[in-house]
């Protein structure tokens, strides 16, 4: 049994120092999946054949070439990835977590998947998610719910449930997911890994099944900030297929002004979540950064803005599933998809459009202005990701509104289109992960990575993983 690597650097060092071959690496991940995924349920499709083919190709390359030449050409060489089942992968089944696409085999791949493969990455499988990315717990998957690897009675978060859980479970090194209202940051927070929501448009969404087009972002999970940064450099490129593209800037400072938005620390927030973030805040303070209380009054309205705009756009995007060119009939939609389609159709319909959708778009402008203003005074905003740690399976699934309200702290970044990194830090007394998010202005991903790396050094950070049973 090999020691599974925690980072891209460890993976590559081990392969080049012949601690293990790439085929042995893939063997170990697949063995682990065989033993434990029956209970955790991260995967909808495991791509054994493709993983071994790629691993053999890599082992050949390594035996015949210099390390530096190879890593220049293939910066992610040997890194094993899973992809949320929203990413089209040519000739590999892609379901969106839905029974409508149960047998769908895509005829082309998403740009991000192609770029990761071109960079030397390996696909181990397609991960489970809330159907159509509609959810905050993984419980809306049309197949089965994924469990939190830290405690199987708890949710891993959603909608990128299988993605986050697959990294925590060491079924892969990193995983791609998507964010529309927090679906990378929240499962990252619940599973104790890093989760990046980038600037809207900065990672191409070509070939990613669309949920809500003015909000959707590609995001991903890693065990370290350094890996998050390396992966970002690989995918922050223009492919000509996403018209919203922008490059990240490279500004970094030695000391930052960090805003603490008071509306994110009200009575809704669990005591342990609050106390833990206060510890993180004092660590930043001790190390010379300025912590400044700020007020963002319209963030209180963000949840309503989101739950008008998102279902409206969902009702439009899901109209393509008519069973004509692909997929089963619309009768196969699950109850959450139907609920959002009905809600979206309602807020866009004659007589209600002005009161709901147009109103939401205007409040969106107010919120955007408020956030842009705050970034003239501070470099970042530091806030909880979720009002509570991971909750139990079944705890919120019977009340849709309660489930929607669990998004209150993530959706501001989605509505305004700014980047945010979910950083794992601390644990509850039950051993569940805790953490916080750092939001910044558009295109400041490199600055966010810098502050996150600084935080890792302040706490001598080492990635932590559960003992699976």
């Amino acid at each position: 049994m090999i020691n599974l690597p925690n980072s891209i650097e460890e993976t590559q060092q081990s392969i080049f120092e012949k601690k293990f071959s790439c085929v042995e690496l893939v063997d170990s991940y697949l063995n682990r999946i065989r033993v434990f995924d029956d209970r955790i349920k991260c995967f909808l499709t495991v791509s054994e054949e493709q993983a071994y083919d790629k691993a053999k190709w890599i082992d050949n390359l390594v035996s015949e070439n210099q390390k530096d030449d190879l890593l220049n050409k293939y910066p992610l060489l040997g890194a094993v990835f899973s992809f949320k089942d929203l990413f089209l992968t040519k000739n590999i089944r892609t379901t969106a977590g839905s029974k409508i696409l149960e047998s769908y085999i895509p005829q082309y791949s998403s740009s991000v998947y192609e770029n990761i493969m071109k960079a030397g990455g390996i696909l181990i499988g397609k991960t489970n998610c809330d159907a159509w990315a509609h959810g905050s717990s993984g419980e809306n998957s049309d197949y089965f719910p994924t469990k939190n690897p830290w405690n199987y009675d708890y949710v891993p978060g959603g909608s990128s449930s299988g993605s986050a859980a697959s990294v925590t479970s060491k079924f892969c090194l990193s995983s791609f997911g998507t964010e529309t209202g927090g679906s990378v940051r929240q499962p990252a927070n619940f599973c104790g890994v890093f989760g990046l929501k980038p600037t809207y448009g900065s990672i191409s969404r070509y070939g990613v099944i669309a949920m809500s087009s003015s909000l959707d972002c590609v995001g991903y999970f890693t065990n370290t900030t350094d890996d998050s940064s390396k992966i970002f450099n690989t995918v922050n490129i223009s492919d000509g297929f996403d018209a919203n593209f922008s490059f990240a800037s490279k500004k970094i400072k030695s000391k930052y002004n960090i805003g603490i938005p008071k509306e994110f620390f009200d009575n809704n927030v669990d005591q342990q979540v609050k106390a833990n973030i206060k510890k993180a805040i004092s660590i930043f303070e001790k190390n010379g950064h300025n912590l400044i209380e700020v007020s963002l009054p319209h963030t209180k309205n963000a949840i309503d803005v989101y739950y008008i705009i998102q279902p409206a756009e969902v009702s439009s995007n899901l109209s393509r599933y008519d069973g004509v060119r692909y997929g089963n009939s619309r009768n196969f939609f699950g109850s959450e998809a139907v609920r959002r389609i009905l809600l979206g159709t309602y807020v866009l319909s004659k007589g209600y459009y002005d009161e709901y959708y147009l109103k939401a778009m205007k409040v969106r402008s107010i919120l955007t202005q408020e956030i842009n203003n705050v970034f003239t005074n501070v470099d970042f905003l530091l806030a909880p990701v979720s009002p509570t740690p991971a909750f139990k399976l079944g705890e919120k699934s019977k009340n849709p509104l309660q489930m929607y309200l669990s998004d209150i702290f993530t959706i501001t970044a989605n509505i305004v289109g700014i980047p945010s990194l979910s950083i794992p830090y601390g644990n509850t007394d039950l051993g569940l992960p805790l953490g916080f998010q750092i939001m910044g202005p558009r295109n400041c991903e490199n600055t966010i990575f810098d502050i996150s790396k600084k935080f890792e050094s302040y706490i001598n950070f080492v990635p932590a993983f559960p003992n699976l049973s």
Partner: protein, 99 residues
């Protein structure tokens, strides 16, 4: 709390071409009404002098060069369904023979 009517829900389901189990109509009505009630909090905000935002990037008119590129082969395009005739997708009739 004002409730959305059952008939409105049925109308919406026909518009959006989604099927609803008649037995679930009551619970759908309750759920959607509760959500709409929460969403109506936006009414309180003064937006009289505000323009709407439909996207967050401020980008306008992003064009590609008008170049012919490769596309999918027909076999790929029709590969995801069996409902095909002469490389064409079969759909439900829109007009009757006598129309």
């Amino acid at each position: 709390m004002k409730k959305i009517s059952k008939s409105d829900i049925i109308k919406l389901s026909k518009l959006a071409k989604v099927s609803i189990d008649k037995s679930k109509l009551s619970s759908i009505q309750d759920e959607i009404s509760e959500i709409l009630d929460h969403l109506s909090a936006l009414k309180e905000i003064d937006t009289s002098k505000v323009k709407s935002t439909s996207q967050s990037t401020d980008l306008k008119n992003i064009f590609n060069d008008d170049e012919v590129q490769n596309s999918l082969f027909v076999e790929d395009v029709i590969s995801a369904t069996n409902n095909v005739y002469n490389n064409l997708f079969k759909i439900d009739a829109i007009l009757n023979k006598d129309d």
